[in-house]
């Protein structure tokens, strides 16, 4: 027995580095706690489900809205979307989608309009556990024409009327019985968590065949997938939370690649590339994650626009991104990332100009006097607090660099770090930061910043702290622009409105824009076809094109 054990151990050890080329092991830093695509959004879940579940529409790698489960993207121009007048006299829109004829669940059953109607029913039910009910509430009715064709009646006409990325299709033939009768229990009874390896839950190129909780998820080809045949016989997504261990896993062959969506921070990837660039390709893709500092505009100091501008003029953001991130994170001037088609390249927020910062602060009554720190006429020091997430190494580093640059301008900044749970669950959500809060927003292409900049979205106790306008920014001009952009269907006119919005943002500075983060994908040299997206629809939506050369 002892000999057998030793032989088995030796065989295993010797066999460790050998890996079949039709398998791919992907390392990510998070494990999804559940798998129902409609309940509770989580990046790790979105990433894994992207191999196995296709939405009706999604953004592709060039940030264009495309059909995934539908035949043609419905538009007013092609006649598949029609403006309709609602009983209250306002405009709504009826959008008709035709599902692909060969769209199948993993058990061979077709993906039908009935599935879409059922998913809508689940999404709008107040007790189903689906978090964001906005899209489901906007859809007032669904007309089913046949098994593949359905019309959504949407209660408003906005430029993104045909984007239904958040309507995740659930297989009614499996989920309906679990939902009906006890909708409040659906989140605990869904087959996605009770029977995760049921092939009928997945309509993408792969299906989940094994889940080892907290460790890894195995995906194998969906035999009923009618699209391009995927290359890999088996894909394993392995969770390694510690990024140093994840890097070691890559180097030791424990994983083949590290996903950019949930991988190494950029500074660690850059260091990795310098050491191992001959064996691995490090691809960085600018994303729409907007790193910035929200300013609490209730603060008497920060109410003054001159102080806000001075704070930005005192920062050398170009040098920061060059020194810390090898210049791979583009400096931000507003909320719109450079890869977005509505980005205004001619708009820029206050650039590095220490003299300008000094004169603005003098003008605002914050003078140097004899000391190194500025003070006002009452002798109060210009002292601010910057709160940010604990445990994010590069963010803490950036905070320290900024602290030193502000110090040179005579501004004292204290840095306070909090665990993300407290920062996002309490401090920002309830606007408890006294001056500044540094974090990132992650949104969609051409995302209208209603929740972060509209005055109706300032979190308050009486609105249950909903809304993300943590700065407390209230500008009638910004409100008007946001309202106008949402309903402007004409693209050139909308682009002009977007330019105005970016210019207003750069002038008002309700927050200090820092940079747009870049995702870094670490791939072995032989792996091709992985196309980073930089937005919330992850790269595995193109998994059919991935292969070993």
């Amino acid at each position: 027995m002892r000999r057998l054990l030793c032989a088995s151990l030796l065989t295993t050890l010797l066999a460790l580095p050998a890996q079949a080329k039709d398998e791919l092991v992907i390392g990510i830093t998070q494990f999804p706690s559940n798998f129902n695509p409609a309940i509770e959004s989580m990046l790790a879940k979105s990433y894994i489900l992207a191999f196995a579940q296709r939405p009706i529409t999604a953004y592709d790698a060039s940030w264009q809205l495309v059909c995934m489960l539908c035949e043609t993207l419905p538009t007013i121009e092609n006649g598949m979307a029609k403006v309709e007048t609602l009983p209250d006299g306002k405009n709504g829109v009826a959008v008709t989608y035709v599902l692909k004829a060969d769209a199948r669940w993993g058990d061979g059953k077709p993906v039908t309009a009935e599935d879409v109607a059922f998913s809508w029913e689940v999404g709008r039910h107040p007790q189903s556990g689906v978090a964001g009910g906005e899209l489901f509430r906007r859809i007032s009715r669904i007309d089913i024409k046949d098994g593949r064709t359905f019309t959504l009646h949407i209660d408003r006409l906005t430029f993104d009327y045909n984007a239904i990325n958040d309507l995740r299709v659930l297989p009614a033939h499996i989920e309906r019985s679990r939902f009906l009768g006890a909708p409040a229990e659906y989140r605990n009874r869904t087959a996605y968590d009770q029977d995760t390896t049921n092939a009928g839950l997945y309509n993408g190129p792969y299906r989940i065949t094994q889940v080892v909780q907290g460790s890894h998820v195995v995906l194998e080809p969906n035999t009923h997938w009618a699209g391009k045949k995927p290359f890999f016989r088996r894909i394993v997504v392995k969770a390694v939370e510690n990024t140093a261990s994840l890097e070691a896993n890559l180097l030791s062959g424990g994983v083949d690649m590290i996903a950019g969506e949930l991988g190494l921070p950029l500074d660690q990837s850059i260091a990795f590339e310098k050491r191992n660039g001959s064996r691995y390709s490090v691809i960085t893709r600018p994303s729409l994650a907007f790193e910035h500092i929200d300013l609490n505009l209730d603060s008497p100091v920060l109410k003054d626009g001159r102080v806000r501008r001075a704070l930005l003029h005192a920062l050398d953001r170009d040098a920061m991104t060059r020194q810390l991130f090898d210049g791979r994170q583009e400096v931000a001037h507003s909320v719109v990332p450079p890869l977005d088609w509505v980005h205004a390249f001619d708009v820029s927020a206050a650039g590095f100009d220490p003299a300008k910062a000094a004169s603005l602060l003098d003008e605002a009554g914050w003078t140097l006097g004899g000391g190194s720190l500025r003070a006002n006429a009452k002798g109060e020091k210009l002292s601010l607090e910057l709160v940010t997430t604990a445990g994010n190494r590069s963010r803490e580093l950036v905070a320290q660099v900024m602290q030193s640059q502000w110090r040179k301008a005579g501004i004292d900044v204290r840095i306070r770090t909090e665990p993300p749970r407290i920062l996002f669950g309490e401090t920002t959500t309830k606007r408890k930061f006294p001056h500044m809060a540094m974090f990132a927003w992650y949104s969609a292409p051409e995302n209208v910043p209603r929740s972060t900049l509209h005055s109706s979205m300032i979190p308050r106790a009486d609105n249950s702290w909903a809304g993300q306008n943590y700065s407390g920014y209230a500008s009638p001009a910004m409100d008007r622009l946001i309202d106008a952009i949402e309903v402007e269907l004409d693209k050139p006119k909308r682009k002009a409105l977007w330019r105005e919005l970016q210019a207003l943002y750069a002038a008002d500075l309700p927050a200090l824009p820092l940079y747009f983060k870049a995702d870094s994908y670490i791939l072995p040299k032989g792996l091709t076809g992985v196309e980073p997206t930089g937005h919330q629809d992850p790269s595995p939506y193109g998994v059919e094109n991935w292969r070993w050369e």
């Binding site: 510690n242 062959g253 424990g254 749970r421 309490e426 249950s464």
Partner: protein, 323 residues
């Protein structure tokens, strides 16, 4: 046994009371933690409205005072129902089961390794105090206590997984090819995390063993045994070691709770899906049912270990048995 059954019953009753108080304290601390899962959802999802926030808080019972929720939880537990994990959308026992087994493997392996190395070293050091060997054991013990486990873990991974390629760098089984999940494969994956935790434990046990042995060496009964002509080996093993094991038994028994509450840092470094990570995620995610069950299990095991220590004392020391 009959003599000690009453104290054991008494200790069990006390333990139940402690568990009840602990459940109240843990629930209260979690309930008072800033931010709840719905607040976090609001921060992450721009489409969540005020109405959504109210609806979801009611759905998850977060709109009720934590004391009321604790009473409901208690009533449920009394009926033998641990409830559902909010995070994992499955019964708490199902969510906890695999992690519990993984943690027990990791922790018991490392405890056994630590004891197997530390006790002989402690004894050897005590036999010749202030010798070269004693100095070496002391140095090793201080190094073991001082080195952070995460650093040690990363160094072991760097050496044995990355540079030498002898052992896997993380996880519990090989996830590609054939043969993943065999006994040999599992053992290979356990070597590094067990070694990291075991090495970290060696120091304290070696120091305790050495100190206990030296303390016993000065007692009259040792001199008497030697004067009566007992061989040095007999004196060491039958007299000195037996009594020196008493404090070690207490320390080891109190580690029993740790066998089931896991080692968060080691589990994270080695991607080992155990109780440490599960409890951490449950606490951070306000998964009251799961966090409470995990933490109370660890408390119960510690209390159980303490009772076991008393029983072991009675077994090892006739004076205790007589009382």
């Amino acid at each position: 046994m009959g003599v000690i059954s009453h104290p054991v019953l008494s200790r069990l009753t006390q333990s139940l009371a402690v568990l009840l108080v602990m459940s109240f304290v843990i629930y209260g601390l979690m309930g008072l933690m800033p931010g709840d899962p719905i607040d976090l959802m609001i921060a992450g999802d721009p489409h969540l409205t005020a109405a959504d926030a109210v609806r979801l808080k009611a759905l998850y019972g977060l709109d009720r005072p934590w004391t009321e929720r604790w009473l409901r939880w208690l009533a449920q537990v009394v009926q033998g129902e641990l409830g559902y994990s909010r995070l994992y959308a499955r019964p708490v026992a199902d969510a906890m089961g695999p992690a519990l087994v993984n943690t027990a493997v990791l922790m018991s392996g490392s405890l056994l390794l630590a004891l197997a190395v530390a006790l002989p070293l402690g004894i050897a050091a005590a036999i010749r105090p202030h010798s070269l060997l004693d100095g070496a054991v002391n140095l090793l013990a201080f190094a073991s206590v001082s080195l952070p486990v995460f650093w040690l873990g990363l160094m072991l991974i760097g050496l044995f997984a990355v540079h030498l390629g002898w052992l896997p760098s993380g996880g519990m089984v090989t996830v590609t090819g054939e043969g993943g999940g065999s006994l040999g494969d599992r053992l290979a994956h356990a070597i590094l995390p067990v070694s990291a935790l075991g090495l970290a434990g060696i120091g304290q046990y070696a120091r305790h063993m050495r100190a206990a042995m030296l303390a016993e060496a000065g007692h009259d009964y040792i001199r008497t045994a030697k004067a009566k002509g007992c061989s040095p080996g007999r004196v060491l093993l039958r007299h000195q070691l037996r009594n020196a094991l008493l404090p070690i038994t207490t320390i080891v028994a109190l580690e029993v709770g740790g066998l089931f509450s896991g080692a968060l840092i080691t589990e994270t470094v080695f991607a080992w899906p155990g109780m440490g990570r599960l409890i951490y995620e449950a606490v951070m995610g306000n998964d009251f049912n799961l966090a409470l069950s995990g933490l109370l299990l660890a408390t119960a095991m510690t209390l159980g270990g303490s009772i076991l220590a008393d029983l072991a004392y009675a077994r090892l020391d006739p004076r205790v048995r007589a009382r």
